[in-house]
Each structure stands twice: as structure tokens, then as C-alpha cells.
Amino acid sequence: MKIQSNDERDFREVYEQVFPMIFKVSNNIVRNPDRAEELCQEAFTRFYDQGKTFPSLNDAKYWLIRVTKNLSINVVKRKGRELKMIEKVKKEPKAKIKTGEDLMVEDQICKEVRDAIAQLPEKFRVVITLKTYTDLDYKGIGATLNISESNVKVRVFRARKMLEKILNEDQE
């Protein structure tokens, strides 16, 4: 089924299926729901305004996930540069968050996992994020990121290994 991105009916169909995924992906990278919402809007705006034709819904999905991922990573990189500047002045970014409020135990775990994901190198973080928060299989992730399927497999495996290591270190 062909997808015409600026056709309202096609747009709605893609939107319904893809928005939750790209929102999760973006939120997982930028770790700010409002910013993630903006980025998703930006991605879908580009999708609509460019009036592209996709051979299938999956191709539209890959395109949207790729664009959202790139937008989100750019935001993080920009933020990272800003944070570095702040850290030079103020050397306590982590302690402040922990003492802020009494978090529920579940929230604590969520935060730990998120922090752990954030610590991964970019190429592993992206792959494991797509694997976890979208319905893409290895092949789909490969198509989205323009890497081979076996490369995806290796990165998923290594990303999980790194995450376990980071989380175990935190517990000790």
C-alpha cells in the first residue's frame, strides 16, 4: 500500500501507528516529554510538508523514526554542550537531582534505567532504544539506520551487556 505523506487519510493512518513509537524514542533520547512532543511534531511536519510517496507504511515508519532520532540526538548534543559549560561553573549536576524529592521506588528504578541508557555510546543507545520502544525487528532497525541486520544484532546484544554492567555497578 502506497503512502502519500500529505494526503490526510494516509497521514492519519501513519500518525496513529507511528506517533507513540517516535514519541517514546524521542523521549528516551532527550528525556523531556515536552521537548519530545515538539520533536515529534517537527518530524511529522516535515513528513507532511515534503509530500513524499512511500512504497509502504513500513518505509514511512522508517523515515519518521530516522528523522525523529536525528532531531532528538541533535538536541541532546546541543544540550550536552550547554551542560558542559554549566558543569564548568557548577560541579554538582547529579547530586542535585537525587536530593530533590523523595522518589517512589519504581520511579527510582525508571530513573536508574534511563540514566544507564543515557550513558551508552550513541550507536548502541540508538539501536537499543529502537529495539525497545518501537515494533521494529532487526531488519527494520537496519533499514532505518542504514546498517546491516547482523550489525543490529551485535549492537543490541552489546548494549544490553553494557546496561547490565552499569545497573549492577549502581546497585553495589
Partner: protein, 179 residues
């Protein structure tokens, strides 16, 4: 020999193809160590999956962003449709017919009066003719006859009264004596 992590990860993700899949499942059925390891990986995956925003919140955000598109993208052609419909419904019976009639009369007036001079003089003789006959001809005849109508002595007298010193010289082609 036990299963390695790479294989278990692929199995967990449902990416293992058939001959290997059955073999892995068979091994898992009796090997506690590998089962434990698989559980750990599953646990991590579940933790990560739960580390996201609730479906309700995502839905409300999805609705909000969709409203943006309904307002800023989809609406544009719709608005045009509404305008067109209004024009079709309200203007065709009343204004457009009268406007069309007006246009016909307007263009017709050009056809009748603007382009054809013969017809113009036939239709409006009283306005055009008296002006040309009486006024224009009188003015032009006065101007034409202005110098010829005065005698030489009158001209000299006039110039003299204005303070000009006038010397009269008469030149002819043939000698005067011949006359």
C-alpha cells in the same frame, strides 16, 4: 555446551530462525543456568520498556499534536471549500445574475455607442451637431479673417497707437510703371 548471550538475545527478540530456535528451546527446557540468564535479559528488557511514559499521556500528547495538524495543515483546503460553498449558495441566485445582466448592458453600450460613429450620430444627433455648426465654425472663421479683414490704414493706425514706429515699404515683382 550452554548457550551464549548473543544467541539468547536473538532468541529473546524473536529473531532466531527455525532450526536454531527449536534447539535453543530444547536446551532451555533442561538447563537452569541458561533459563536464569534468559530471565535476566527479559527482566532488563521489561524494565526498559516500563521506563517510558504512560499510554494515556502519550495519547493526550498525540491528540494535541494532531490538533496542530488539523489547524495548520488539513484545514487549509477545507476553508477554501467552505468559502466556495458560501459563494455558490448565497451569490448565484441574487448577485451573480444581476452582475451578469449589468455586464451585458455595459458591454452592449460599448458595442452600440462606443465603436460605431454612424449609429452614434443617428441616435444622438441633437447633442453633437449644434455644437460643431455654430460655435466651432464661428471661432475659426474669426481667427482666419483677422488680418485680411482690416485695411492697411487700420493696421498702421493700430500699431501707431501702440507706440510703434512704422515705415511702409512697398515692393512688387514687376515695376510699378507697367501698371
Amino acid at each position: 555446551m550452554c548457550l551464549d548471550d548473543a544467541l539468547l538475545n536473538s532468541y529473546l527478540d524473536g529473531e532466531l530462525l527455525e532450526p536454531w530456535k527449536t534447539q535453543v528451546e530444547e536446551h532451555l527446557s533442561y538447563c537452569n543456568g541458561c533459563q536464569m540468564r534468559l530471565e535476566q535479559l527479559k527482566d532488563l528488557d521489561d524494565k526498559m520498556k516500563s521506563t517510558t511514559i504512560s499510554d494515556d499521556e502519550i495519547e493526550s500528547r498525540a491528540d494535541r499534536v494532531m490538533t496542530f495538524f488539523e489547524k495548520n495543515r488539513f484545514d487549509k483546503p477545507k476553508k477554501q471549500n467552505i468559502f466556495r460553498r458560501k459563494i455558490q449558495v448565497n451569490l448565484i441566485p441574487a448577485l451573480i445574475t444581476s452582475a451578469a445582466a449589468f455586464v451585458v448592458v455595459f458591454i452592449g453600450s460599448f458595442v452600440l455607442f462606443g465603436t460605431n460613429n454612424q449609429q452614434t450620430s443617428e441616435i444622438l444627433p441633437e447633442v453633437n451637431l449644434p455644437i460643431e455648426a455654430s460655435q466651432v465654425q464661428q471661432v475659426s472663421s474669426e481667427k482666419k479673417s483677422s488680418l485680411d479683414d482690416f485695411s492697411l490704414s487700420q493696421i498702421i493706425h493700430y500699431l501707431d497707437s501702440q507706440g510703434y514706429a512704422v515705415t511702409l515699404e512697398v515692393k512688387t515683382v514687376n515695376p510699378l510703371e507697367d501698371n
